[in-house]
Symmetry: C2
Subunit: 301 residues, 2 copies
């Protein structure tokens, strides 16, 4: 998986402090997670091949997470897109986006599919052979979901030298990948373990923004490789975090520790703070592997 | 008047090629003209005191002219604005903006007044003692208005040395500014011309984007000090300009010449062009005083 941060600031975007937006590459998928104002400019800036995006996940309907979506769709249209686009987000998103495109007489020529979310339980919302996406119910001022992205290791991996050595007919390759023992050219049964390596280990990414400190989240994100958890505030502003249903960096660190994740990525910083290192420092008090989301940063695993 | 360009590119915004947005300072007014995606970031970038903005004029409902508006309104709210905000734009703008703010439970605490436009005739839409705004019907794919901003010179200007010399009572100052002759302390009638200078000359700015070449516009903008006229394309793309109802730089130059304006400012460039000087060169074939809108550029008169 390869994650690129497009923007990582809260609330009132400024020049060079863009609001939430991330692209995640997982197997053959390139997906967009949240789409604050200016996200399409950031996609251009970081030379993301964004015509590849077929799935967009919107956590909630505060402007800093989706006001860039109508512009991105309009740009796809102007660039002559033909491939379908799937948008997952809270109920209401379809009406809003549809209205904005219609009043500009800018309805898309490509199929635009909205998958509106309203459940307060975690749901499986996308699944193909190796890639799946589940919602993560968050606790914010309005209905909000995080998203858990899982890339399974797929099938067992054929060992080219071994199938050649045993003279296995190509017709059997599909079965070997599925774990079966097969016959060699002499009619002898060959153990699958000799012909194929185990699948790659699955990989996972959890995106949790925006949310108050919410231990109920832990079972859903247990052991994920990378957790992005919002940290709008630092501990001195804990009362403000509670009031606005955001988290402090320390709270993000506690969630990461409880969920025993691989790495914690902080983001969604209030623009009141000048020094982002203070976020890392605060989270490190609870969890040892902390990274800071920064514009353009790439995290690969 | 002082005009600052925030963005001046057409259609698909890129990093450092922001879409339409301008701030105009006229007397005590600071108004925003169009508000493409990212305009609020540009306001921050150029350190505009944007809390002063009380009137926003939207030419038409294509995304590159108004997709930055919901975010700007949300930011005004987050910054605790109390002053009313007036938005002038095509019918439909109220429903769209209202819906976007409502689904995010982000309705404003300050009064938000929409002035929806639907006339195909030029209308006076704002007027106070010295400042007025008229619509300029344009010819685009959807209903579109340009705007004519006029700052009158106001009253005659008292000459402090003269009123002192003639011993004029302060009670007469108001009448002097209105052009009356008044009595001095000895009862002699003093000619107004001795006591006050004429008002400052009026100043004017016409904003015309987006539009096909439209000579019908000329009477409305006759003799304005500064004309901003869109030039999405260059002459080799004239057929495309006609088809999409945009103008070439040469056509903008012809309008400027016919209207005998003071200066022509070009903008709304298609991002297909790398060299903006070609726009100036093309317009100069028709009109001698041509400037290029560029990010952050300030034009004062």
């Amino acid at each position: 998986m390869r994650l690129q941060i497009l923007g990582c600031y809260a609330a009132t975007p400024r020049f060079l402090s863009p609001p939430s937006g991330q692209v995640l590459e997982a197997g053959k998928h390139l997906v967009l997670i949240d789409c604050g104002e200016g996200t399409q400019m950031q996609l251009r800036r970081f030379k993301v091949r964004f015509s590849r995006i077929q799935h967009i996940f919107i956590s909630h309907l505060h402007g800093d997470h989706f006001f860039g979506l109508p512009g991105l769709i309009a740009t796809f249209r102007l660039l002559g897109r033909e491939k379908p686009l799937h948008i997952y987000g809270p109920s209401g998103i379809k009406e809003a986006i549809t209205l904005l495109l219609k009043i500009g007489d800018s309805w898309t020529d490509f199929p635009l599919h909205f998958h509106e979310l309203s459940s307060s339980e975690s749901e499986l919302i996308l699944e193909d052979t190796t890639f799946s996406v589940r919602t993560l119910p968050l606790d914010h001022r309005i209905y909000t979901n995080g998203f858990l992205f899982t890339l399974s290791g797929g099938e067992r991996r054929l060992i080219p030298e071994a199938v050649e050595k045993y003279g296995i007919d190509k017709a059997y390759y599909r079965r070997i990948k599925q774990g079966e023992d097969v016959y060699d050219s002499n009619g002898a049964l060959i153990s699958n373990a000799l012909l194929a390596d185990p699948p790659r280990p699955p990989k996972s990414y959890a995106y949790c923004s925006d949310t108050a400190f919410q231990p109920a989240l832990v079972p859903y994100i247990k052991g994920v490789d990378v957790l992005y958890h919002e940290s709008t505030f630092l501990h001195p502003e804990a009362a403000l975090a509670e009031q606005t249903k955001h988290s402090t960096a320390g709270e993000a660190g506690r969630i990461a520790r409880m969920a025993e994740v691989g790495r914690l990525v902080l983001g969604h910083y209030s623009t009141r703070y000048k020094d982002l290192e203070a976020f890392r420092k605060e989270a490190l008090e609870y969890f040892p592997a902390v990274e800071l989301a920064e514009e353009g940063a790439v995290i690969q695993w």
